[in-house]
């Protein structure tokens, strides 16, 4: 059966591009005329008769049955009327209709999104923020300048390319990376240029296989990073979901800007240079001599047997920190710090110099009364305290080359200056006694460039007891208050004269005081001698006379020897009364305070360290270290520093704590094994704890090989910490590249390197709290 025929009488002409079709089409019987352009039915009859001559002829299409039998009506209308239909759109028109409404709906959606403040942010957001930024929610304005006051700032389209760092400035409001936050590596451009030049001048050529292609398709970031701010979004791509790691970075992307490019860590990475030590250690500790000599000789419980006895990883497992002094060094060195076995056990804080009272009197300089037996020097501490008064500082400078105990040959200016200094010393002692620790505050705060807090000042005073200074003053200057009052009021009645040693001065000391030895039951030559010696030593005339100067100078040494060795040994080796004698023997003040503290010895007020981390010694070293050079330099401070920082100085601080010169020319004592103020986040990072599983029987020395030939000690003769000879040999790249391959430990750049060399600071965040909450 053939369905379709073509012919003018056999088929209709189809017009699928017409907008409307007859509503009866679906029933298979569309009308001949079809709807008009507006979709209105025009169907009235099955044909439109034609008049030929005076007759109307039927024109019904063959397809619809051909000419009808009835024929047209007399008035020319068709006799077969057609029921009117509801025209429908053609297929093509339906498609256009759907297209129109889809476009309209889409445009409406877009206008709603752009114009509506309700759902706009959540809809236009290109994805969820990473969990670290999740708190920002849909507040686009937190990170985008394109969102201003809740509306889209379309003007930004004109400047979005020209101002690349605009949005990044919003990043650094929270992630402050220092003054160069938006520079590559957060480095100053000058530093970046220096590093680039240094690497460029090594002469090594890039070895990256894809380098020519990557250079072709990549932007010129090398020059860009040197001249422009680098937008944070260059590396940190946000809106990639909660779990997206913002700091992830491909190895090859890291090298985009680098002068020297290579394929991977094992293949082309430059050999390590001076890794891992870029500077000498803060604590002077010669690993080689300790391991090979000291630890071998002294095989006690205090001797460590492994590296972990002295070092431990930090909480992050990265750095190997030095354990506390008490568990590392104290076993061997604690007593040394307190002076045991040392020539110098204490330091003189106040000391009365010997002065030429007669010459003062002859020249009419009023200095009042002065202990006749005083023969010390002005200590650096006194000089520094006195220097806070400019007039006294000038006077001290004028008498630098003269001795106060012989002023016969001085000119008028010098002797007047000497007189000023003598009165100032009296005043200093008086003020310390009457004002107490606050006097240190008033004096030291006058020093240039000093801004000391109460804690520092408390430490500088060293907890000086009032009884000690009062007793010293009473013995040295019994009538000091009246004297100083006289100077102030112009009273001339106090003539310069010597004060004789008071009967109870000083406290019994070995060597010049008779030990209270219980008489022996039987005569013994040693005891006789000792007894005789007691008699001699007890003679105030001899010890209190002019010769005391000679004895006093070496008194400390004599006391040390007698106390610790000679007397003790002699008595121990004696006739059985040793214990009794030792118990009854009065100790010297220095020995009496063997755990540290203040004591008076003759005309000197001394301090003996209390042990490691002694606040008094540490504070004086710290404050005087910054008064060494430049505009802050004070000669007296330098003297204090020299006194305390010598290798054999009291407390032996500088035996272990290195001293570094600072950028501003001052010095700094490294009290801790980690140096504060030094770059905390270098380019390289390393986790020690992550590598504990690779050490074998050699322990840490698998990587840290001792350098037997290094002159480690010589390193600390200078103050430049960057010039040094390390105890250990440099680590080579091969040590790492064995494991750091993709199949094993991985070799991502960021495994070992930091990009930002400054820690992110949140100092700009308003962390203030309100009492209302």
């Amino acid at each position: 059966m053939r369905l379709q025929r073509f012919g003018i009488d056999e088929s209709q002409y189809e017009r699928p591009d017409q907008k409307w079709i007859c509503g009866w089409t679906a029933k298979g019987c569309p009308c001949v005329e079809g709807p008009d352009d507006k979709g209105m039915c025009r169907g009235t009859a099955e044909c439109i008769p034609v008049r030929r001559g005076d007759r109307w002829h039927c024109q019904r299409h063959e397809g619809r049955g051909g000419t009808c039998d009835t024929g047209p009506l007399p008035d020319g209308r068709c006799c077969l009327t057609v029921t009117r239909c509801q025209p429908v759109r053609s297929l093509r028109a339906k498609r256009g209709f759907v297209g129109f409404w889809v476009i309209a709906a889409t445009a409406g959606f877009i206008f709603y999104i752009v114009g509506s403040p309700w759902h706009r942010n959540s809809v236009i957001s290109p994805g969820a923020l990473s969990s670290s930024h999740g708190i920002l929610g849909n507040d686009c304005a937190s990170c985008h300048t394109a969102m201003k006051e809740g509306t889209l700032d379309w003007s930004r389209l004109k400047t979005s390319a020209a101002v690349p760092a605009k949005d990044s400035n919003l990043c650094v409001e929270c992630h402050d990376m220092g003054v160069a936050s938006l520079n590559a590596h957060s480095l100053l451009k000058s530093d970046l240029a220096d590093i680039t030049e240094r690497i460029a001048t090594t002469g090594e050529k890039s070895s990256r296989s894809l380098d020519p292609i990557l250079s072709f398709i990549n932007e010129d970031y090398s020059s860009k990073t040197h001249n422009e701010a680098l937008a944070c979004a260059t590396c940190h791509r946000e809106h990639r979901g909660r779990d997206h790691q913002l700091t992830e970075m491909g190895n090859q992307r890291c090298q985009t800007c680098h002068v020297y490019k290579f394929d991977s860590f094992p293949d082309g990475h430059p050999e390590f240079s001076g890794y891992p030590f870029e500077a000498r250690t803060a604590i002077i500790f010669d690993h080689y001599t300790h391991i090979s000599e000291h630890f071998v000789k002294d095989s006690g419980a205090a001797v460590p047997s492994s590296c972990l006895d002295c070092h431990q990883p930090d909480s992050a497992g990265r750095r190997m920190l030095v354990r506390d002094f008490s568990v590392t060094c104290a076993g061997c060195h604690d007593d040394q710090i307190r002076g045991h076995g040392q020539m110098t056990k204490s330091v003189s804080f106040l000391q009365l110099p010997g002065i030429d009272v007669e010459t003062f009197a002859e020249r009419g300089i009023e200095v009042g009364r002065w202990p006749e037996d005083a023969d010390g020097d002005i200590t650096p501490f006194m000089r520094l305290l006195l220097s806070s008064d400019p007039a006294i500082r000038s006077a001290l400078n004028r008498i630098t080359d003269i001795e106060l105990y012989d002023l016969a040959d001085t000119d008028d200016e010098q002797i007047e200056s000497a007189g000023q200094v003598v009165i100032a010393i009296k005043n200093l002692i008086y003020k310390i006694e009457t004002e107490g620790h606050s006097y240190f505050n008033s004096r030291l705060r006058k020093l240039p460039g000093n801004s000391l807090d109460d804690r520092q000042l408390r430490h500088l005073a060293g907890g000086l007891p009032v009884d000690t200074i009062t007793k010293a003053r009473e013995q040295w200057f019994p009538d000091l208050a009246r004297e100083l009052s006289g100077y102030t009021s112009g009273d001339k009645s106090i003539e310069p004269e010597f004060i004789s040693k008071p009967p109870d001065l000083p406290r019994p000391e070995l060597g010049n005081q008779p030990p209270q030895v219980v008489p022996p039951t039987s005569a013994d030559s040693d005891e006789d001698i000792l007894a005789d010696t007691d008699d001699i030593l007890d003679d105030d005339d001899i010890l209190g006379g002019d010769d005391e100067d000679l004895l006093a100078e070496d008194s400390t040494d004599i006391i040390d020897l007698s106390d610790d060795e000679i007397i003790g040994e002699d008595i121990d080796a004696g006739n059985g009364v040793a214990n009794t004698a030792t118990q009854s023997l009065p100790k010297s003040p220095e020995e009496w305070v063997h755990t540290g503290g203040w004591y008076q010895a003759n005309y000197s007020l001394n301090y003996r360290p209390t042990g490691h981390s002694d606040d008094f010694i540490e504070s004086w070293l710290t404050i005087t270290s910054i008064l060494q050079t430049g505009s802050r330099r004070i000669a007296a401070a330098s003297d204090v520093f020299t006194t305390l920082a010598g290798r054999q100085s009291v407390g032996l601080c500088s035996k272990c704590h290195s001293v570094d010169s600072q950028a501003d020319g001052t010095l700094a004592v490294n009290w801790h094994s980690r140096i504060s103020g030094v770059e905390q986040k270098p380019f390289t990072k390393f986790s020690h704890s992550a590598h504990f599983n690779v050490v074998d029987r050699e322990g840490c020395m698998v990587c840290h090989e001792l350098n037997r030939n290094a002159d480690y000690a010589a390193t600390f003769k200078r103050f430049d910490r960057t010039v040094f000879h390390g105890n250990f040999k440099d680590i080579k790249r091969d040590s790492c590249s064995t494991c750091h391959v993709p199949e094993l430990a991985g070799n991502r750049c960021l495994d070992c390197h930091n990009y930002h060399v400054r820690e992110s600071s949140f100092s700009q965040i308003d962390s203030s709290f309100s009492s209302r909450k």
């Binding site: 059966m1 298979g28 445009a107 389209l157 101002v163 690349p164 398709i217 970031y221 491909g250 992307r253």
Partner: protein, 273 residues
């Protein structure tokens, strides 16, 4: 046919080469700090506009814009290329922003409908030529009516001549609905002839109740069933060939509009990169 195959091989070769080049660009961009999404995005948008322009080309047949068949070739292979460009642009991950999801969904639907259209225009055309008489889509209702009238005429003839209602009952129960409207749309789309076999089996089963004259009429009706079945097949296939454009074309415009918004927002929020 040889020429067609050669042309298709050349086109597929060019498409593959362009896809590899696009992937290489994408891969190399991941090795650099450059944001390759700007480049891939502009290329993708350009390709999409070119693909959409094919619809415009058909709107202006009088303009000397080249042959439509050539445009169709570019449209088909350009569309396939755009899918790969799209994957590179979204970096082979599923977008998670609302607008991006809308945009990606639109692209997937447009591209998917395009692929479907390409496939059915290739396969359905062959089936239309192979199955039954080729008819104009708009005339199918008329032909269906003619067939139905013919079948009803035969049934009425059998009733009047044989004085038997067996055929009429059978027609009313099993064939009336079949002849009155298009049937088995999805069977025809998927090329199944199972409904025809079922009908034929029923007719054969009913023959045992018919006499010789009725069987002759039934034979004619069976012929009409086959013609109607083929006509329904043409209707289904041609409907599908025209229907996929209802998805493809309107959503193309929606896609271009949302893509335009996407470009504006990207440049507005580019963050300095």
């Amino acid at each position: 046919m040889i020429r067609f195959r050669k042309r298709r091989a050349v086109n597929i070769g060019i498409l593959a080469a362009l896809s590899v080049a696009a992937y290489l660009c994408y891969y190399l961009n991941t090795l650099t700090l450059s944001n390759g999404n700007f480049g891939s995005g502009w290329i993708l948008l350009g390709v999409m506009i070119f693909l959409a322009a094919y619809n415009g080309r058909k709107k202006f047949p009088f303009l000397p814009l080249g042959r439509s068949s050539v445009w169709l070739q570019f449209h088909a292979y350009g569309g396939l290329l755009s899918i790969f460009l799209f994957l590179c642009h979204i970096q082979f991950r599923i977008p998670n922003g609302c607008l991006e999801i809308v945009l990606a969904t639109l692209f997937v639907i447009v591209a998917g409908s395009g692929v479907v259209g390409l496939l059915i225009s290739r396969s359905f055309a062959r089936r239309l030529s192979a199955q039954g008489e080729e008819v104009i889509y708009e005339r199918i209702p008329l032909f269906r009516r003619n067939i139905s009238k013919a079948a009803e005429g035969l049934i009425l003839q059998s009733v009047s001549e044989m004085q038997s209602t067996v055929l009429a009952s059978f027609y009313r129960e099993y064939l009336h609905l079949f002849f009155s409207r298009p049937r088995y749309f999805w069977h025809h789309i998927f090329g199944s002839r199972e409904p025809l076999r079922i009908l034929t089996r029923r007719i054969k089963a009913n023959n045992r109740y018919l006499d010789e004259s009725e069987r002759e009429i039934m034979k004619n009706i069976t012929e009409l069933v086959k013609v109607k079945y083929d006509l329904d097949c043409h209707y289904a296939l041609q409907s599908a060939l025209k229907g996929w454009l209802f998805v493809h074309i309107p959503l193309t415009f929606a896609l271009l509009l949302v893509a335009g918004l996407h470009v504006l927002l990207i440049y507005l929020f580019r963050g300095g990169i």
